[in-house]
């Protein structure tokens, strides 16, 4: 491990930044979605927008909602990708440190983001209702 090889790792900096922002975003926003859309809604305890086709389409047609969902998905999946890669490293999978592993995990997050973009653009036409 020579002195000459040491240099600031910009890629790791970016990964960490996206991971930490994603952590905050998921920490703040995910619980209420899971509680309401995953538990209270299906049990019929409260009315929820995704229980009926017309209310759901109305809400996800709104461009602000589309933007919100995109930001949520993008940062969340970068957070998950980073955490999962380090989780594997903690389990002793040294391959998770390598460049191909980084490409797979962060590339995966990019892929999910692109899928989300496609879904949000092609589902429920833009409406300001």
């Amino acid at each position: 491990m020579s002195e000459a090889r040491r240099r600031p790792a910009l890629s790791h900096l970016v990964f960490w930044f996206l991971f930490s922002q994603g952590g905050v975003i998921t920490a703040l926003l995910l619980p209420v979605h899971v509680l309401i859309q995953g538990i209270l809604g299906p049990l019929g305890i409260v009315p929820v927008v995704d229980r009926h086709y017309d209310t759901w389409v109305n809400v996800i047609g709104n461009p602000l909602v589309k933007l919100y969902l995109l930001v949520l998905i993008m940062f969340a999946f970068f957070h998950f990708a980073h955490r999962l890669r380090y989780f594997l490293m903690d389990l002793g999978v040294h391959a998770a440190k390598t460049l191909p592993a980084q490409a797979i995990f962060y590339g995966g997050a990019v892929a999910v983001t692109l899928v989300a973009v496609w879904i949000l653009l092609t589902t429920a036409p833009l409406s300001f209702g």
């Binding site: 998921t26 979605h33 859309q37 299906p42």
Partner: protein, 133 residues
Amino acid sequence: MTTEAPAAPREFAWRMPGNWWTRTRHYFLYMLREFTAVPMALWLIWLLYEIKRAGSGPHGYYPRSSTAFVVFSVIVLGFVLYHSYTFLKLAGVIIRVKLFDRPVPSQVIVVTMFGSWALASAVVGFVLIWFAR
């Protein structure tokens, strides 16, 4: 096993045991915290799928109501809450803010984080319920 002594004294190398994270409660809770990414990712993939299914028209769309799905969400909620609690609490350690040249105590930052969580939940919850009328 050889009876011949080695030529030079040799150190005994360290080898990390594969089950290191089962050895203390703190290590186990750490791995649990890291693992929360898996259920959270699965639930968000479900949400994306719910959005996509809205594109199949009013006849094709039906909201998930099965017991299995609710059980899944309850389990995910447990992991999500654990993530939120640990992440926001630790954010107080990281963030260093100075107000009028005096450092803000980390407890204040943590309280602000949890306050933001409550506010964000209230806003999002309102939108999810209000527009379902």
